[in-house]
Amino acid sequence: MGAGFYFSTLQQMTSRIPAGMRYYIGAEARLRRTVEDVAMSVFEGWNYEEVITPSVDYYDLFEQGMGQREAQRGFRFTDNDGRLLALRPDVTSSVARMAATLLSERPRPLRFCYAAPVFRQQTQSHAEWRRENTQLGCELIGAGGKAADLEVLRLAAEILSRLNLQSQYCITINNVEIFNGVAAEMNLALWTREQLRRLIDTREAAELQRFLRDYDCREGQAFSQPTQLTGKRDVIQTARRSITNERSVAALDSLEDLWTEIESLGLQDSFEIDLGDVSSLDYYTGLSLKIFVHGAGTSVGRGGRYDGLTGSFGRSEPAVGFVLNLDALTEVLGRKGKRS
């Protein structure tokens, strides 16, 4: 093999970039910075304190915080003593641990925000090609109930409208306890529960009806018409016709209360109820939300209530939060800027 061959492979090695990674240059980098500044100033306006968490942490932390399935998507490597480390696949886990340990004595509620890159070795879908994403996020810890849920929803809406995305975004809300209550009522085994969840998540109407036919349970019918799961207040009215179990009804009540508040703020055009959003059931314990923006093919943000999380670090308390994907937002705004 000649020297020329050796040189060209070496050059190839150093010029290649790993999949899912990218540069931001000049105007694009500036736009990205502006988006970040807007979000952080809105957080600051609501008295959220900035927090910077370690980029590298024990893998166990993320497994506790996100569940095994999600944590496994992270980049993993070993420490000097052989313990498994991870490049953080999320920030929430670390903030929850901090609240439960380092800041356990601080008066509640705690309000934290961050702008931090997270890393996933395996992406969630083909359309989300990035393996490094910067999350603009906030966590409200030690506050439960409607007021706290509403606070984070208002924050998300404010950031999006400050980014001039007014009337171009849609935040969907759900309460995961509605599904959990019905699944408990139907007495489903773990595997069939997952099957039902998946059919609702992908809105497979015909398969759903076939699945539900095998169960003599009126409550399940609430999910049999996927098109009736998405909309405004009427979605809840429709669901009430077939759902009567205590757990789900309580969740429907609190979702409806939240919707009333959204209406009284005049935000109902930017929000939708989506009872079919059952994508992260193991994680959220009440409210769950997803954020969509015209021009982006996947959601640009998500969040919800995760009252179970801090408990796994030794101090159980209510918590709610959300993240926006800075890179996805920058892409949408960049394209809009070019067009106008």
Binding site: Q124, S125, H126, A127, C170, T172, T202, R203, E204, A205, A206, E207, P226, T227, T230, G231, E272, D274, K290, F292, V293, H294, A296, G297, T298, S299
Partner: protein
């Protein structure tokens, strides 16, 4: 306006017939032209015609809001999409076929499987704990067992004639496949009214 990606070939013909019954009409000239993106007569829908395997790609990225594509293609792509409607068109079966009708009971050690659908084949045999070597081909899969390249094939069959003519019998059915309407997750929320209007019209036209 909704952009709808249609799988070219067999699916396209039945999909356009169903759409016409639903009142969404494309002019004859436009369909016969070589243009790959055309508007319907009402101007509410833009159609793009792409290779079947590309339909999930366009829809998952949100370039197309909806798509019409076979379930076989969806299983193979493992795309993250909504599948609200089975259109009951272009029905066919995904099967395992072999020269030996008893092939599945005579499995020894491991088997070699030739297929265009490597994901489907891998997960089908994987879930049953059968070790397989997948041989990825891009066409004329039926040849592989006769020439000794593979023990079995995984392929799509409509009538089964090609299988018979090449000395193969169906030893197992993996799944039935029909044309599906798929929808991008973001479009489902952001264009909720248009998408549910389309869903209602297609549901009515189906029956």
């Amino acid at each position: 306006m909704l952009t709808i990606a249609i799988a070219k070939g067999r699916m396209q013909v039945s999909a356009l017939a169903l759409l016409a019954r639903a009142g969404i009409c494309l002019s004859e000239d436009a369909v016969n032209s070589r243009r790959l993106a055309i508007m319907d007569e009402s101007g509410q829908y833009r159609f793009i015609f792409v290779k079947p395997a590309d339909v999930p790609v366009y829809v998952e990225h949100g370039i197309a809001d909806c798509g019409v594509v076979g379930r076989d293609v969806l299983l193979e792509s493992e795309a993250d999409l909504l599948l609200p409607l089975d259109l009951d068109i272009a029905r066919c079966r995904m099967v395992v076929a072999a020269p030996d009708p008893e092939a599945m009971t005579n499995v020894q050690g491991m088997i070699r499987v030739a297929t265009k659908y490597s994901q489907i084949a891998r997960s089908h045999f994987g879930s049953r704990g059968i070790p397989v070597e997948i041989i990825q081909l891009s066409g004329s899969v039926e040849l592989a067992p006769a020439l000794g390249l593979a023990d079995m094939i995984v392929d799509l069959v409509e009538t089964g004639r090609t299988l018979r003519e090449n000395g193969l019998t169906v030893v197992e059915e993996i799944a039935e496949s029909t044309g599906r309407l798929v929808v991008n997750r973001a479009s489902y929320q952001l264009k909720a009214d248009e998408v549910s209007h389309l869903l209602n019209m297609l549901t009515a036209a189906k029956s």
